[in-house]
C-alpha cells in the first residue's frame, strides 16, 4: 500500500499513531513492511491456507462475534443434505462433472430451497467450462428461490448449519499446515491470529486491505471469499474501521466496473443477456432475482427498464418490452484473453485500445502481439506511442524473426488522447466515490477525449446506416445519442451524460418528456415512467445538482466528509452500515457508533447515510415469505442478498465452490497436501501450442522450473508504463527493469548484484538487472527451500519515444484463468533463473525450446483439470 497507494497509506500511519497494529503479509519486504509492526513473508499462492487457518483459529477458540454472526450472517442457515465437502470427495465439492470440469451447484443450496430458478437453464453442456459467475448471474450475487424463508438453527449446533459446516471444512487448516505450506512459522502466524481477534468485537474493528494481485490467481475469487468469511465471523463488516478494502490501481477502474466497459455486465451490475436463458425480458429478469427472495435486487425490473428507456427513449415501450431484444446476447466467455485468441483465429477484425497497453500489461505479451498482428485494423488511443501501437515495427517478435513488418497487414490508427485536465468528467475512486474533475485547458493538436471521439464515431456510424432498413441496425438508429455541448463547441457534454446516468422522471401524455432528475434509485419505476443509465449512480444529480463536484474542504466538515464527492449508492460511505448497530439498533459500542436507530424520530440516523430502509424499525418482522425490500427484517443488514444476511457460505453464484478450498497455482513447485487434487478443478485452461505451461510439482520436469516468481508495481511507475516511462522525472527515478532475488538464491545461481539475469518459462525468456536483497526471504515449504523472485512489470520493448525500456515481465506468463471472473493467474508462477543476458534473435527461441524439451512440455502439461498435475 505504501508503494502503490502512498497517499492512501497516510491513513494507515494516522491509525498507527493512534495505536493501531499494522500487519503486512507479502512475499516481499516493501515500504509498507518498513512501517508495519509485523511483516509476514509467505509463499505466493498459499493465501487460502493462511486465511483458512485464521478462520479455524477463530472457530476453534470460539472467538467469533456471536451476536453479529447469529443475527447478520447465514451461520444458522441449514444446507441441503446432498452437500458434500472437498474432504469427502478428494478435493472437489459435490456436483463436479469431470467431463466438463464444472459444477452443478444444486447440492450446495440451502435446505428445502426449491431448485434455483435460473440454475437449470443457465448451464448448457457445451459451454459449461466457459461459464463465469458474471455472465451466468450478473455480479449481483445469486438469485435464490425461497431465500426469504430459510431454515435456521439459532443454537448454531445443527450439523448441517453453515457454522458447523465451516468448522468441519476448516479443521485441517492448522498452524502446522501454515508452516508447511505458507513457509510462515507457527509463532508468527499465531501472533497474527491474536492481533486480529483481540482487535475485533464490540469495541474494536480490524480492516483487511488488499491490492488486486489477490484477484490474479486461478482461485482469486476464493481469496477474497476467505477474507469475507473471516471479517463476517469477526463482525468487521459494515462498521467503521472494518471491511475488506480493495486498493485498485487505476483512477476509475471502479467506475469502469460500475459503468462497465466489460463484456458480461450492463451498467449497475445488471447481467448481459445470455442466449438461451434470457430471450425475453421476463426470462432475463428471472435470472437476476426471483419472486420469493428478499432485498433490493427484487426491483431489478425498475433498474433494467429505466436503462432501456435511457438508451432507446420513446422507441422503448411496454408493448415491445422496452426494446429489450435490442440487446446482444452472450454465449460464453468473451473476455479479453478469449478475444485475443479469437484474433489469432482471425474472427476479430478490429480492435480499439483505449488507454491500455496489452503488449506489456496483459499476461502473455507474445500472444497479445500475435493477436494484434492478425487484425485488419487497430485503433490505439493514448498519450504516447506505446508498445501496443508499435508491435509491428519494433516488437520482440520482429527481433526474433517470428514476425516481419512487411508481412503484417494490420492497419494502425494512432489517435492522440486528451489528458485528465483537458476534459470534464468523473472518476470513481477505490471506495466508490465519484469525483468530478474540471477541464482546465483545451487539448493540444489532434488530442481529443474519448467522450468526443466516441460521440463523433457514433454519429458517423449512424450516418452511414441512416437509410438502412435492416432490422439489425434498429438498435443503432433508435439509440438516444444527443449530448451536444451547451456552449456550442464541437464534441459531447460530460455533464449531459452524467445527467442521463443519474436519470429523470418521464412525464407528459406518453411519458416521453424529461421531468425532474431522480434523487434515488428507489424512485425508479418498472413501467417505463423513469429513465436512468446506471441505477446505482442515481442520486449523483439529485435536485439537479452535480454532487460529484461537491468540494467542501475536508477541514470544514465531519470526518465522514459527505460533502466531498458523492459515493454510490445514495452517498453511503460504508456499505451495509446497518451492521454497525446491534440487532436492536443501538451502536455495538460508544467507540464504534456509526449508524443507529433513533426511536423517537422513528428512523435510522448517524454519521453516514444509513444503508437501510430509513424508517424500518430494528424490531420489524415481515410476513414470512414476503419478497423484495419489504421482505427485509429490521435485522437484515445485507440488503442486496437474497436472504438479507452476509454469506459465510455461498449456496449459489460461484462456479468453483461454496467455500474457499486450497488449490495450488497452475504452476507450483509444491504438491497440494490436502488431497490428490493439485489445482482448482474448474480453472479455465487453454490447451494451445502458443500457451504452454510449466510442469507443476509431482509431474516430471517440474524441477526444470524450481522457483516462484511474482510480479508487482513500483511507486514511480504506473502499470504498463504508458503514463510513466515517457515522463522524465519518473523514468529517471526508476530507469531499468530488475529482478529481486535473495542472497541465498544469488549464491545458488551465481547471480551478481547489478549484473544481468535471464528468467525463463515455457513461454519465453527475458533479461533483467539483478538486485540481490534481503527484501526477499527464502522460505521452507514442506521441508524444501523455496526461492521467490520479484519482478516489477512496467517495462516494454519498442515503445516510440519511451525514455526507458526493458523486457516485459508479463511476457513470462501464460494464460490460465479464474473460472468465475476470467482473470489470469499472474502472481504465482514458476520459472528458472540463470546469470547473464538472454540470447537475441532466433537463439532466444532455441533457448526456450531447450527448456521445453528438458521439461517434456506438451499442450497437456499442467492442464488436466481433475487430479494431480
Amino acid at each position: 500500500m505504501a508503494e502503490c497507494h502512498p497517499v492512501g497509506f497516510q491513513w494507515v500511519m494516522e491509525a498507527k499513531a493512534r495505536g493501531a497494529r499494522v500487519i503486512h503479509v507479502d512475499p516481499r519486504f516493501t515500504r509498507t513492511s518498513a512501517m508495519a509492526d509485523q511483516h509476514v513473508p509467505l509463499r505466493a499462492g498459499s493465501d487460502i491456507v493462511f486465511l483458512g487457518a485464521i478462520i479455524n483459529y477463530v472457530l476453534t477458540n470460539e472467538l467469533y462475534f456471536h451476536d453479529y454472526v447469529l443475527s447478520y450472517t447465514n451461520a444458522a442457515t441449514l444446507v441441503s443434505e446432498d452437500f458434500r465437502d472437498v474432504d469427502d470427495l478428494d478435493g472437489v465439492f459435490s456436483g463436479y462433472d469431470p467431463q466438463s470440469g464444472s459444477y452443478d451447484p444444486t447440492s450446495w443450496a440451502y435446505e428445502d430451497v426449491a431448485e434455483p430458478a435460473a440454475a437449470g437453464t443457465d448451464r448448457q453442456a457445451p459451454a459449461e467450462h466457459e461459464e463465469s459467475a458474471g455472465h451466468a448471474t450478473g455480479s449481483q450475487g445469486a438469485s435464490e428461490e425461497g431465500a426469504a424463508h430459510v431454515h435456521r438453527d439459532e443454537t448454531l449446533q445443527h450439523p448441517r448449519c453453515v457454522l458447523q459446516i465451516l468448522k468441519r471444512h476448516y479443521s485441517r487448516y492448522t498452524p502446522e499446515m501454515v508452516e508447511r505450506m505458507c513457509g510462515v512459522s507457527q509463532e508468527d502466524f499465531l501472533a497474527v491470529c491474536e492481533a486480529v481477534t483481540a482487535n475485533s468485537g464490540r469495541d474494536r474493528t480490524t480492516a483487511f486491505v488488499y491490492s488486486v494481485g489477490w484477484t490474479q490467481h486461478t482461485v482469486g475469487v476464493q481469496y477474497i471469499r476467505g477474507a469475507a468469511i473471516l471479517q463476517l465471523l469477526l463482525g468487521n463488516m459494515g462498521r467503521p474501521g472494518g471491511g475488506i478494502l480493495a486498493l485498485r490501481g487505476h483512477a476509475s477502474i471502479q467506475g469502469s466496473t460500475d459503468i462497465p466497459t466489460l463484456f458480461d455486465i450492463l451498467p449497475g451490475y445488471l447481467p448481459m443477456p445470455k442466449a438461451g436463458n434470457s430471450d425475453t425480458l421476463e426470462d432475463y429478469l428471472g435470472r437476476i432475482s426471483t419472486s420469493s427472495q428478499k432485498g433490493f435486487w427484487s426491483d431489478a425490473r425498475s433498474y433494467a427498464v429505466s436503462l432501456l428507456k435511457a438508451w432507446w427513449g420513446e422507441k422503448a415501450t411496454a408493448d415491445n418490452d422496452f426494446c429489450y431484444d435490442y440487446l446482444p446476447a452472450l454465449t460464453g466467455d468473451h473476455g479479453t484473453y478469449q478475444t485475443v485468441m479469437d484474433m489469432i483465429a482471425e474472427k476479430v477484425e478490429g480492435y480499439f485500445l483505449l488507454g491500455q497497453n496489452p503488449a506489456v500489461g496483459s499476461a502473455h505479451g507474445r500472444m497479445q502481439r500475435l493477436g494484434m498482428s492478425h487484425l485488419k485494423w487497430l485503433v490505439v488511443r493514448d498519450f504516447n506511442l506505446i508498445e501496443s501501437a508499435t508491435f509491428w515495427k519494433e516488437g520482440p517478435e520482429i527481433a526474433t524473426g517470428e514476425m516481419r513488418t512487411e508481412d503484417i497487414g494490420t492497419e494502425v490508427f494512432f489517435f492522440p488522447a486528451a489528458s485528465h485536465v483537458e476534459k470534464d468528467g468523473t472518476f470513481t475512486q477505490t471506495q466508490r466515490m465519484l469525483q468530478w474533475h474540471h477541464q482546465a485547458v483545451e487539448p493540444p493538436g489532434d488530442c481529443r477525449s474519448e467522450l468526443d471521439f466516441f460521440y463523433l464515431l457514433g454519429q458517423k456510424v449512424r450516418e452511414r446506416l441512416a437509410d438502412s432498413t435492416d432490422e439489425r441496425d434498429r438498435p443503432l438508429l433508435d439509440l438516444t445519442w444527443d449530448y451536444d455541448r451547451e456552449d456550442g463547441r464541437p464534441g459531447a457534454s460530460a455533464d449531459a451524460v452524467l445527467r442521463e446516468i443519474n436519470g429523470w422522471e418521464l412525464t407528459g401524455p406518453d411519458h416521453n418528456e424529461r421531468g425532474d432528475m431522480l434523487s434515488s434509485f428507489t424512485q425508479m419505476k418498472p413501467d417505463g415512467t423513469t429513465a436512468g443509465g446506471c441505477w446505482i449512480y442515481t442520486g449523483v444529480y439529485a435536485d439537479g445538482i452535480n454532487h460529484s463536484a461537491s468540494k467542501k474542504p475536508g477541514s470544514e466538515q465531519s470526518w465522514v466528509a459527505l460533502e466531498w464527492g458523492w459515493s454510490w449508492p445514495a452517498n453511503r460511505r460504508i456499505l451495509y452500515n446497518r451492521a454497525s448497530a446491534d440487532p436492536d439498533g443501538k451502536p455495538w459500542s460508544e467507540r464504534k457508533a456509526y449508524v443507529w436507530w433513533d426511536e423517537e424520530a422513528g428512523s435510522w440516523t448517524g454519521h453516514d447515510v444509513p444503508d437501510f430502509p430509513k424508517t424500518k424499525a430494528p424490531s420489524f418482522r415481515p410476513e414470512p415469505g414476503t419478497p423484495g425490500p419489504a421482505g427485509l427484517a429490521g435485522d437484515d443488514p445485507f440488503i442486496m442478498q437474497a436472504d438479507g444476511k452476509g454469506w459465510l457460505y455461498v449456496p449459489k453464484g460461484l462456479l468453483d465452490g461454496p467455500l474457499p478450498a486450497h488449490y495450488e497455482p497452475q504452476e507450483s513447485p509444491v504438491r497440494n497436501p490436502f488431497y490428490s487434487q493439485q489445482s482448482n478443478p474448474t480453472r479455465q485452461v487453454f490447451k494451445r501450442k502458443d500457451n504452454l505451461s510449466n510442469p507443476s510439482a509431482g509431474a516430471p520436469g517440474s524441477d526444470v522450473f524450481p522457483y516462484v516468481f511474482t510480479t508487482y508495481r513500483l511507486t514511480e511507475h504506473h502499470t504498463a508504463g504508458g503514463m510513466s516511462r515517457w515522463s522524465g522525472y519518473l523514468a529517471e527515478l526508476q530507469p531499468e527493469f530488475f529482478c529481486e532475488v535473495s542472497p541465498e538464491l544469488a549464491r545458488e545461481r551465481g547471480l551478481d548484484n547489478g549484473g544481468w539475469a535471464t528468467i525463463i518459462t515455457a513461454r519465453t525468456a527475458i533479461e533483467a538487472r539483478v538486485l540481490v536483497t534481503d527484501r526477499i526471504t527464502p522460505l521452507t515449504v514442506e521441508g524444501k527451500r523455496i526461492h521467490q523472485i520479484g519482478l516489477p512489470y512496467h517495462w516494454g520493448v519498442g515503445g516510440g519515444g519511451a525514455l526507458v525500456s526493458g523486457d516485459s515481465a508479463n511476457d513470462l506468463l501464460g494464460v490460465t484463468l479464474d473460472p468465475n471472473v476470467h482473470i489470469q493467474e499472474s502472481k504465482a508462477s514458476s520459472c528458472d533463473i540463470q546469470p547473464g543476458r538472454r540470447p537475441t534473435g532466433p537463439a532466444l527461441l532455441r533457448l526456450v525450446d531447450t527448456y521445453r524439451s528438458r521439461a517434456g512440455i506438451t499442450v497437456e502439461t499442467s492442464n488436466t483439470l481433475r487430479g494431480e498435475a
Partner: protein
C-alpha cells in the same frame, strides 16, 4: 533603502533578533530569494481536478497561465489526500506538457514500414467505415439452436479504467447498440 533598514536586514542582526536564531531559514535568506515568487502565484486561474494514476483519488489543483498548464499541486481541501501527491501525481504536469507527447494523428497502412501523418477527420471517417464493414462481416443473428444473438464478433475493445465514467458510458452504450459485445478493461486483468 535607508541606513536603518540596511542595518536591520543584515543577516547577523536578523539572526539575533528574529525568529531564526540558528540562521537556517529567514535570517539567511537573500534579497534575491525573497523576491522570488512561486509560479503558482502568477497563474491566471486554478482548477480543481483529480489525480489520473491510481484509484486513491487524490485532489489536484491545476494552475493555468496563458491557457497552458504551468503546475499541478495537491489539493489541501481534499479529505482523501489533504494536499499530498505521490511521485506519479507530482509528475502529472509532465503528462500534459511532456515534449514527447504525441499531439498528432498517425497512420500505419497495411504492410507499411513506418508511420504517416494523416488528417484527424479523415482518420475518424476511415475508422467509422471499418466499424460498419467489420460489424457486418462478422454478424450473427442467432445461435445454432435459433436463440437470438443479434451481435457482431468483428469488433473488440480494451480500456476504460483510466477513462471517465461518462466516457465508459458512451462506449458501452454505442458498442451494445452496435451489437459489439467484446468490450473489456483492466478490471479483468
Amino acid at each position: 533603502m535607508s541606513a536603518r533598514k540596511t542595518l536591520l536586514s543584515w543577516p547577523v542582526v536578523r539572526q539575533l533578533t528574529g525568529t531564526d536564531p540558528l540562521g537556517r531559514g529567514a535570517a539567511a535568506q537573500s534579497q534575491k530569494t525573497r523576491d522570488w515568487t512561486a509560479r503558482t502565484e502568477t497563474a491566471d486561474r486554478v482548477v480543481q481536478s483529480v489525480c489520473p494514476y491510481c484509484a486513491v483519488g487524490c485532489g489536484q489543483r491545476v494552475y493555468v497561465k496563458d491557457e497552458k498548464v504551468i503546475q499541478i499541486e495537491g489539493d489541501p481541501d481534499s479529505p482523501v489526500s489533504r494536499g499530498r501527491l505521490c511521485p506519479k501525481g507530482s509528475a502529472s504536469e509532465q503528462l500534459v506538457n511532456a515534449p514527447g507527447r504525441q499531439r498528432y494523428m498517425l497512420y500505419r497502412r497495411p504492410h507499411g514500414t513506418d508511420w504517416e501523418r494523416i488528417d484527424l477527420e479523415t482518420a475518424t471517417d476511415m475508422v467509422a467505415d471499418r466499424v460498419v464493414a467489420s460489424r457486418a462481416a462478422q454478424w450473427q443473428d442467432v445461435d445454432q439452436e435459433g436463440h437470438a444473438l443479434r451481435r457482431t464478433m468483428g469488433i473488440a475493445a480494451l480500456g476504460g479504467a483510466t477513462l471517465d465514467n461518462e466516457e465508459n458510458y458512451l462506449i458501452k452504450k454505442l458498442f451494445t447498440a452496435m451489437g459489439a459485445i467484446q468490450i473489456e478493461n483492466q478490471a479483468r486483468i
